[in-house]
Amino acid sequence: MKKNILNISLAAAVLFTGITSFTGCTAASAQGKTDGSITLTNVSYDPTRELYESYNKIFAEHWKEKTGQDIEITQSHGGSGKQALEVANGLEADVVTLALEYDVNAVRDAGLIEDGWVSEFGNDSAPYTSTIVFLVRKGNPKNIQDWDDLVEDGVGVITPNPKTSGGARWNYLAAWAYADKLYGGDEAQVKDFIKKLYKNVLVLDSGARGATTTFVENGQGDVLLAWENEAYLSIKDYPDDYEIITPSVSILAQPSVAIVDKVVDKRGTRDAATEYLQYLYSDEAQRIAGDNYYRPSNEAILKEYANVFNLDINLVTIQDFGGWEKAQTTHFADGGVFDEIYEKSE
């Protein structure tokens, strides 16, 4: 009887690994190269799909012209932090194009990206930027003009949770930057301001898209703190229902791009990957970014979009917070300022 059990479990185990390795091989070989064409995987974050859909087309033409080779790009989109985690855990990405430097650093810390990636491409490896703006209901019934209007009683604010959404950290830091200027750097007062702001937050969604749904589809709150490009997407869908308010101070959100060194070396795709990211800075690609409501990093092209973006906005950068690592530990890590404002408000 014992032997019987042993045999059967062995057979089951063999069968099982058989199934998994069979499908595994087919999946693996599908990624490999055939007849001189080349494939790249670009792991990106949520709202960049249309941007890269257009960009991948012009890049494929560019690459074909330059090398005579066909190139196919597989896209992956998801929450920025989650995407970084997946790359760190073995998702084979040739390049990552994520929402913030901190997430790319997580991939670096897993040993997949070499130090110094930030200076590898122009403008701190941020080919396009964005900022945080307010989306309010048409006519702006609560007359919201700047950050201090958000802490008034009776104003409902919608913003995602900075602990689960990388993008929402920019919202928080932009508010912090405003309060910091307002109170001349008095930290107790700044914290109080942020606390009041988050007291007015009605729904703390887990991601930017969820927050937009809460505001737009379910009609919650008076103001949505959003990335500029996402706010424009909502306006595009509902031009008669919403308007964008640009606050006096905001933050320069720099989505970062990087080559995943370990993967490109293994797959032999370094040249293509480098060119893929480099070409994001070409005039053509910069205009695609502008058309998708990202601010082009090329100043000349940014000026072409002066009627779209408010270029007078006062933008602080993450460097004003001492870089991402510091901002992360001070504000968002367990026991950081963000936890503090919630625990004390109870």
């Binding site: 199934i19 390795s21 999946a27 693996a28 792991v43 597989t74 992956s76 995407q83 855990n89 073995g90």
Partner: protein
């Protein structure tokens, strides 16, 4: 049919009323919402979203994962239910608890454990890499996660019925010298066939709709490792509200097809058994 008194008629009406109201509020309304959103911008937008090549690839992957999950869990479910109800042994309670455990594991944890087991942090990752076997962020991972979340569905349907039936008939048959397989097909299976059918349908429905665990494991490679629920998520995150609901409606329809198939099988089966009588 037994006679019904006035009181029992009132109870009947009340219970049916409560059931219908409950199902309407909790199930039908959300479904209507899905369908209404899917067609909000007209049939053309709907058709485009559904006929998109990535949607079709996602659908094929969903079908593949569902078929694998149902197949593995069917084999497992039959053996496990047989083991738990027909024999006495030490650790039985523990075993049946462990079988149920996957249902109650948060989908996020379910995804996480496979990433920890087969991902880059795992001690076996170098071997997998050397053999060029990809489990996480590839199709096998998706299949494994799907099997995991639907793991006990079939055995759980079978166990209560088998328990209620007891072991007398099988014991008698065995004493008369019948082989295991014969006992199963001739005696046990007729008792459990409807529960078995429910189990398969439950398993298939859940496998199609699984989102959390697969989401952690898939890597979201468009056209390669996106299942339908993930495709819905991506569309939604890309501010494509209407196409997201359109793709969800495909899942609803797939579920409806399975449920209709079940009803047909059930109907034919029950009619035949009545004819035999």
């Amino acid at each position: 049919m037994h006679k019904e008194s006035k009181g029992s008629k009132a109870v009947k009406v009340l219970l049916i009323g409560v059931s219908v109201l409950f199902v309407f509020l909790m199930l039908v309304l959300p479904l209507i919402t899905v369908i209404a959103e899917a067609f909000k911008q007209g049939f053309k937008v709907y058709a485009e979203a559904v006929a998109d090549k990535y949607t079709i690839k996602a659908m094929l992957l969903t079908v593949e994962a569902t078929v694998f999950a149902v197949a593995v869990n069917t084999v497992f479910g039959l053996f496990a239910a047989w083991l738990i109800t027909k024999f006495r042994f030490k650790g039985k309670k523990l075993l049946s608890t462990l079988i149920d455990l996957p249902v109650t594991v948060s989908p996020i944890i379910a995804g996480l454990i496979f990433v920890l087991t087969f991902g880059r942090q795992s001690p076996i990752y170098p071997y997998l890499e050397a053999a060029d076997i990809k489990i996480v962020f590839a199709v096998p991972g998706i299949i494994l996660a799907t099997i995991f979340v639907t793991f006990p569905f079939i055995s759980r349907e079978l166990i209560p019925v088998l328990e209620a039936q007891g072991t007398d008939e099988e014991e008698a048959a065995a004493l008369m010298g019948a082989k295991g397989f014969t006992i199963f097909t001739k005696i046990t299976f007729p008792h459990i066939k409807w529960a078995f059918l429910y189990g398969i349908v439950l398993c298939a429905a859940r496998a199609m709709g699984e989102f959390g665990a697969v989401s952690v494991l898939s890597g979201h490679l468009r056209g390669k490792t996106n299942t339908l629920p993930l495709h819905v998520e991506i569309l939604f995150n890309e501010f494509k509200y209407v196409p997201a609901f359109a793709v969800s409606s495909i899942l609803v329809m797939m579920a409806v097809i399975i449920l209709i198939a079940r009803s047909v099988v059930e109907y034919i089966g029950k009619r035949e058994s009545e004819n035999v009588r």
